[in-house]
């Protein structure tokens, strides 16, 4: 039971308290890139969460079963980026053959994912924090959900922002940054949710 509580805490922590976008500032390129429309934001969220969990699981297995016994932990950046790139390329090919309908919907997000720093940060952090296999997966799920939440909030605001009268030099990205700052400020309210 305590084990379960701990996992739940980890999930909440990764998705709300230490939200990757608002407190770690990771995945911002994607965050600003795909949050213009709700539809793309949703597609990205689903694809991203799924890929993240699979890649974290594979990275954990490779790290624990291959890299630690061989004493090559210093190669982890190269190995992890290789896993992500391979996974993205592989699922791209498999999805195109097996589920073409899904591929046409989500395919373009797959290609974008390999440039997302969160997907690399999660395996690196779960190694750094010495998470167990289950903990790593829960951590990945939480990060994915947190990122999705951020994307959806931002997309719904930006759709309205299109119509707003923004000062000339603030148009586009600068304004998006200021808005993100405000959301981040709101997210600091979650900080007390978990005792450290």
């Amino acid at each position: 039971m305590t084990e379960f509580v701990k996992l739940f805490e980890l999930l909440i922590s990764a998705s709300l308290v230490n939200n990757f976008v608002f407190t770690w500032f990771l995945g911002l390129c994607i965050f600003f890139g795909v949050s213009k429309k709700m539809e793309t934001a949703l597609g990205m969220s689903v694809t991203f969460t799924a890929v993240m969990m699979i890649s974290t699981a594979i990275s954990w297995i490779v790290y624990k079963l291959i890299m630690v016994p061989l004493n090559i932990e210093f190669l982890m950046i190269i190995v992890f980026i290789g896993i992500v790139a391979g996974l993205v390329q592989g699922s791209d090919t498999i999805m195109r053959k097996v589920a073409p309908a899904l591929y046409y919907k989500l395919g373009i997000y797959l290609a974008l994912i390999s440039t997302n720093c969160i997907i690399l940060a999660v395996p690196l952090m779960s190694v750094g924090n010495k998470y167990s296999f289950i903990e790593s997966i829960v951590f990945a799920l939480g990060s994915g959900l947190g990122f999705s939440l951020a994307l959806i909030i931002m997309a719904s605001i930006r759709e309205k922002l299109e119509l707003a009268d923004v000062p000339k030099y603030f148009k586009g990205l600068p304004m998006a940054f200021v808005v993100t700052g405000m959301i981040a400020l709101a997210f600091t309210g979650f900080a007390g949710l978990i005792k450290h």
Binding site: L26, A85, G181, T188
Partner: protein, 208 residues
């Protein structure tokens, strides 16, 4: 090309990296570290230096090998080169500046996922000889460093009243700027300021 035009074009390459294609303010790429590490000047400077090193070394390596890389597998090879150099920086900084590394370490490792470095390797270094690629790397890296230094300068000065850990302003600081949320505000406002400055001073001068 004669020697003089080449010298000018090196200068142009550096200027291009700092102003016209400034990674952060103009292209809006590699934003993660721009906010994450810039709550004090020291971190900003070291992060910028790490990026310059990686960008220059990657550009040089790729352009030296460009004839041997088969176009179909070029992206995995670029990634491999980038992550190799990032590992070098990562281990180097861990050994040389451990106190900085403790706070920016994760972001150093994530230089691998910088779109800007891959983009320069793909668009510039894989098509040009070594010297122009090196200067292109210096230019892009300097642009990144300038942006990081500007952001962290304002954030540390206003948010803590300090620069490089030394107290400067003897007043109650505006704490929000060193908080995560303040980072977004600072980048948003500086980006708008950069747009304004660029529109006002550089668009006419560049159209000769």
């Amino acid at each position: 090309m004669s020697a003089t035009t080449e010298e000018i074009s090196y200068w142009e390459l550096i200027k291009n990296g700092i102003l016209k294609e400034n990674t952060i303010f103009k292209l809006a790429l590699s934003l993660c570290p721009a906010i994450a590490v810039t709550n004090n000047l020291k971190n900003g400077v070291f992060m910028g230096a790490a990026v310059i090193f990686v960008q220059v070394m990657v550009n040089v390596t790729i352009s030296a090998m460009r004839k041997f890389i088969h176009p179909r597998i070029r992206l995995p090879i670029f990634m491999l080169v980038i992550s190799g150099w990032v590992t070098v920086v990562n281990l180097g900084m861990d050994a040389l500046v451990p106190d900085v590394y403790r706070s920016v370490g994760l972001y150093i490792q994530l230089i691998v996922a910088f779109a800007s470095i891959l983009a320069r390797a793909e668009m510039f270094a894989s098509k040009n000889t070594i010297m122009p690629s090196m200067f292109d790397g210096i230019g892009m890296g300097l642009g990144f460093l300038v942006a990081l230094v500007t952001i962290s300068f304002f954030r540390e000065l206003i948010g803590k009243g300090m620069l490089w850990g030394v107290p400067i302003i003897n007043a109650k600081p505006l704490l929000i700027l060193v908080l995560p949320a303040g980072g977004f505000f600072a980048v948003g406002i500086l980006m708008a300021a950069f747009n304004w400055m660029y529109a006002k001073y550089f668009t006419k001068g560049n159209s000769h």
